[in-house]
Symmetry: C2
Subunit: 80 residues, 2 copies
Amino acid sequence: MKAKVHVTLKRGVLDPQGKAIGHALQSLGFDGVDDVRQGKFIELDLAETDRAAAQKAVESMCQKLLANTVIEDYRIELAD
Amino acid sequence: MKAKVHVTLKRGVLDPQGKAIGHALQSLGFDGVDDVRQGKFIELDLAETDRAAAQKAVESMCQKLLANTVIEDYRIELAD
């Protein structure tokens, strides 16, 4: 089973990487870019075939390692 | 208009970050994680309201800045 995890900064948390990308885009002549937020996109190939068990495992992986839950949100998508 | 861009390493390109995450997960006791790939997830708030123009602009942003097209692929999703 494949799991796709999006880890993004919580609203209100300053995103220096996003700001840097925004400025760089502007200096390249891209106007009209109001805001840029950058996060992580993690793809996991799991041996697990049971959907509920996979969801539970990935949830735990996010809590323990993949996301800093103080400042980040995460979203899990499973695909067979 | 909101654009969501996934930037991921091309198949066959070594992913040291993914490998490091995989080893860390294993040391935390998560078995059955066959492969881990990490990429970037970038959200852009655009002033542009025309879909085709937004697609073209973001395509150009990817080519020029957001992705290293030698080793990375990118995928663009637009949302009103």
